[in-house]
Each structure stands twice: as structure tokens, then as C-alpha cells.
């Protein structure tokens, strides 16, 4: 299974980036092989509107089934939902620990976004 994790760096030892839409990197981790695909999210970090929507679309395109992140807004959440991606919010620490917690069943899926939209 492929899961997406928002990250400040490009490898599993990196600290997670709490932001979703404007995360510096999004790592797509294969939970069976622990192989990592790096998605550079620079374009969305700089975008002036709709970063969450764009990032969510990109994550869906990468074939991820689950997203682990810190904060997620309503537009990103709606887009992830439409793409059939389950979301876990309020996750922190390194990417590796987050993935381990997920595979061990220690994380629960979020029912709704934990951040409000902004202008």
C-alpha cells in the first residue's frame, strides 16, 4: 500500500512537515518495501491560492491511498475524499516513525478537516 507523508526533507529520517498543502515535500512510501518516491511540493509552497487542492490532486495522481499529515483544510480534505484517500491528521515526528505507527494500527482516520479555510 502506498501512503503519502508530508515531510521537511527527502528521506524517511526527515521530520514531518505539519502543513499539507504547503508542505515542502510529500513522500510516497510503499509500506511493504519501504521504498520512497519524493514529490517536490515547491510549486504549491509558493502558490497564492488553492495549495491544498493542488497537493491533494497530486497525491491522488501518485496513487497514494492514505495521507499522514499535521493539518488539513476543508478544500484539501474534500479533494482527498473525492480521490478516495483516507486522511490521518495531527501526526508529528519523523516520517519513519509515522509510517511505523500507521502500519502497527496506532493511528485513526480523521472524519473532518482540523483547520478552517482561509482567504
Amino acid at each position: 500500500m502506498k501512503i503519502a507523508v508530508t515531510s521537511t526533507g527527502t528521506d524517511l529520517q526527515s521530520a514531518m512537515d505539519p502543513r499539507f498543502g504547503r508542505a515542502r515535500y510529500i513522500l510516497i512510501v510503499d509500506t511493504e518495501t519501504m521504498e520512497v518516491e519524493v514529490m517536490d511540493n515547491e510549486k504549491n509552497v509558493q502558490s497564492f491560492k488553492g495549495a491544498g487542492i493542488q497537493a491533494a490532486t497530486a497525491v491522488a495522481d501518485m496513487g497514494a491511498e492514505v495521507l499522514l499529515t499535521g493539518y488539513c483544510g476543508p478544500n484539501a480534505f474534500k479533494t482527498l475524499n473525492a480521490g478516495g484517500i483516507k486522511v490521518v491528521q495531527d501526526v508529528a515526528g519523523t516520517v519513519q516513525v509515522a509510517v511505523a505507527n500507521f502500519t502497527n494500527g496506532n493511528l485513526t482516520y480523521s472524519e473532518e478537516p482540523n483547520r478552517e479555510g482561509h482567504w
Binding site: 502558490s47 491560492k49 488553492g50 495549495a51 487542492i53 478544500n75 473525492a82 480521490g83 478516495g84
Partner: protein, 279 residues
Amino acid sequence: MIVTVASGKGGTGKTTVATSLACAISDSVHLLDCDVEEPNVHIFLHPKIQYQETVYTMVPEVDQERCNGCRKCVDICRFSAITVVGQKLLTFPELCHGCVGCMVVCPENAITEGGREVGKFEIGQRGAIRFGHGLLRIGEAMAPPLIRKVREQIDDKGITIIDAPPGTSCPVITAMRGVDFVLLVTEPTPFGLHDLKLAVEAVIKLGIPCGIVINRSDLGDNGVQDYAQQQGIPVLMEIPFSREIARNYSKGRILAEQSPKWREKFAGLYEKIKICAAC
């Protein structure tokens, strides 16, 4: 002749100047309140409202069945108001600026024109003054479509005074674009000067001649005067800080109707504007 009364900083006296200017002009005049987020000209003018209309802006409506997932709509939208995720075409109407780009590029005609209410506009009259303003729907963030609708009320004949919103963002530009003259109202304080500079930069970019009115002119410092001189922008009027003016304002009275002296001053201001706009 269309004159927009604007300012970088809020609360400098735009409405005081706009209402007085309209009252001091003896010909028939249009007075349009384009500060649709907080319109207040009507509080001073007390016009008789004769007509009201609801204004809508275009938002895309999608036919999922027709979408082939080509993403041409996603690529053209600068505001991420539409996306294709998995097989689903998804829209975010509150981000849409109503440019209809997605409709135009869709090869499958999967997108049609829907509408979202942005507010209402009202038309009225008081004496020789024809009045118009917009009232943005509470919760709506997009003022420009409503401001454009208010401005459509202008006919080519006669004089139009537009009371603009404060600042230098899209609503202000919408209230200034294409007019003959911009009157910038400011106050002689560091805040007033800071925001005046931003407003002047915007006006210069739009290529419109402008002049300055300094309100509460006997307070603060000489920064605004020095800046105006340095930039070659004429200071067309100064209104002193006066308890009497403030008291009348708080009672909803128009400055030019307080005394013949002020009516004459504002009539003179309009004459100066005519000269400056012709340069």
C-alpha cells in the same frame, strides 16, 4: 467625466469628499458608492431608492458524465477552483473568479454556466443627484463583479463621482479602472503617507491623472505635502481638523451642505479637477 475618490488608508474622508463634491456640482451628477463591503453614502444622501436587482457571478456547473478527464479546465484555472481527482471533476465555487475559461476550453461541453449571488445593487435619486450603490452579500468575498455592475449604471453624459473602497486591492482597481481622474484623500500622518504612496503607485500603473485632498490638514506633519511636491501631484484641497465638521459628520450631514463656504470650496475643487484631468 468620471472621478473616483479613493485612498490607500481607510477612514481618511473619502465619503465626506465624494458626497460634498456631488452636492456642490450644479449639473446633474451620478454618485456611485462602490465600497460594496461597507457602503455608507446613502446614510448621508438619503436617496429615494427606485430600483433593486440581485447580482450573480458565473460559477462552473459540471456534468460528470461528459467529462473525459483531460484536465484542460484544471490547467487554465489560476485559482484552483476546479480539479480532476481520480475520475471526479470537482469545483470550488468560492475560489472561482468567474472568468469562464474552464467553459471555453472544455472539449466535451461538460461545464455550463451557473450563478452565485454576490449581492444587490440599488438605484435611487435625490434632487439632481442620481445615486447607485452595491450591497455585498454577507459571507461573499468577491466584490469586483458587484462593483462592475454598479459602474454599468453610468451613462456617457454628465458627471459621475465614484466613492471607492479603501486600500489598493482588486475592488479598488475595479472602482478606478478607466476613469478620467482619481482624487486621493489622505491625512498628514505617517500612516496616511504610507498608504497614499501605495495608492499613487496603483493610479500611476493605471495611467490616470490624480490629485490629493488632505483631510485634518492641520494635524500631523509635512510628509504628505513634501511627497506630493516631490512627485508633482497637485494638492487640490485641504480640510482642517474641526470639531464642527466632525459633529455634523456624526449626524450624517454632508459637509458641502453645512455652509455656502464649503459648497463653494467643493465647486472650486471640481473646477480644478476638470483642469487637471484635461492635462
